[in-house]
Symmetry: C2
Subunit: 243 residues, 2 copies
Amino acid sequence: MTARIVRVLDTFDVDRTVQTPSEIARRAELPTSTAHRIVAELAASGVLERDDDGRVRLGMRLWELALRGSRALRLRQAALPHMARVQSIVREHTQLAVLERDEALFLERLSHPDAGANITRVAGRLPLHASSSGLVLLAYADPEVRERILARPLSPLTRETTTDPDDLRHLLAGIRRSGHVVAPGSVEAVSTGIAVPIRESGGVIAALSVVLPRTTSPEATLTALTALRDAAAAITATLRALP
Amino acid sequence: MTARIVRVLDTFDVDRTVQTPSEIARRAELPTSTAHRIVAELAASGVLERDDDGRVRLGMRLWELALRGSRALRLRQAALPHMARVQSIVREHTQLAVLERDEALFLERLSHPDAGANITRVAGRLPLHASSSGLVLLAYADPEVRERILARPLSPLTRETTTDPDDLRHLLAGIRRSGHVVAPGSVEAVSTGIAVPIRESGGVIAALSVVLPRTTSPEATLTALTALRDAAAAITATLRALP
């Protein structure tokens, strides 16, 4: 039952916020009667909300249940003021990501209105081997997780995405030595991602990153990297002070 | 089944992010065996995550499912840059709230490190008749919802909370005329809440508010109100431009 509820919720997306129960049934690959029953139960609990015309969307109640006691909220609240400081320096995109089921899941994104290209979305995902955040998360992941991911066929997002396992191992070892990655063109040809690890209690729990135009000068890139390192250290200190 | 899953998720809170299945059973008022089974199912789906010692917490997967297609995320992403501008002016607390099941549910809060008292939390709730955000949401709510709430016995949070239905009707009519509320001491004696409505497609969909120290000068209060009005109009424009 729980798995079917998750499948129903999983049919909603940033581009698909309102659906009919029949559309949900088709996308969740459930019998129509089953989908209708689950939708009715979820609507009764406020997890889904019905429009006047019978279409449904995710309820504010689900948002509340998911956030109120979550690590995501705690981390994001600790990080937000420090991300804002980075963002005031780079004036492009500043992002926070965690490792979730073998992908980089983005918890927050701040973007300047005139900023360049960036496909990242809050609550969106990117492959670990392509995004700068993902590379940092992969570099510091359990060796077991890392080798499981390197053992898979890895798809490039651009011509510059590193997909060869040995090249990736070399890249990840470099990230562990330097404590950062600069990844030009690995997600989009026109952008460079820069990411650093965020630590708590000794371990790496998240990645902080910026996305800059590919044309950014080396000096501005270094300024961004310094801002990221300072912010990551400040986030660690903030987390330490939390109950 | 869905209702019991919601009851399990509802036992988690900002002060209670990690629990044993037995604690969950007790708080959700479910038989221990039922709670254990639901927890196991939710953990298998990633909705809950297990610690090494068998305790569970809300999973990043739940956060992702709840946010990815939600109105809360859309509204909050549209509002955040404009909230940041208000916050850069008031340097105290800036908040975004919606009406959810007869209470004000807070979607976002930005706070200055040195800001004064504020009990609001992201994903937390406050009574509609006490908080400045709640008063704005109540002022513009369906008359049916408004009368249902005014018909209840209303508890004061401080000596200054308005609880008399006729006084509240008068206050709410004033909010609809002026388009804002200044509510000194109605949530905490030492703070003043100021709130304005955020409109979309003609209707009021949220409230934008600041919390200032009670000692704030009339000039600074007016500056904050102007910043709130400008931001609310800008959020409406941003929402209109979204797909």
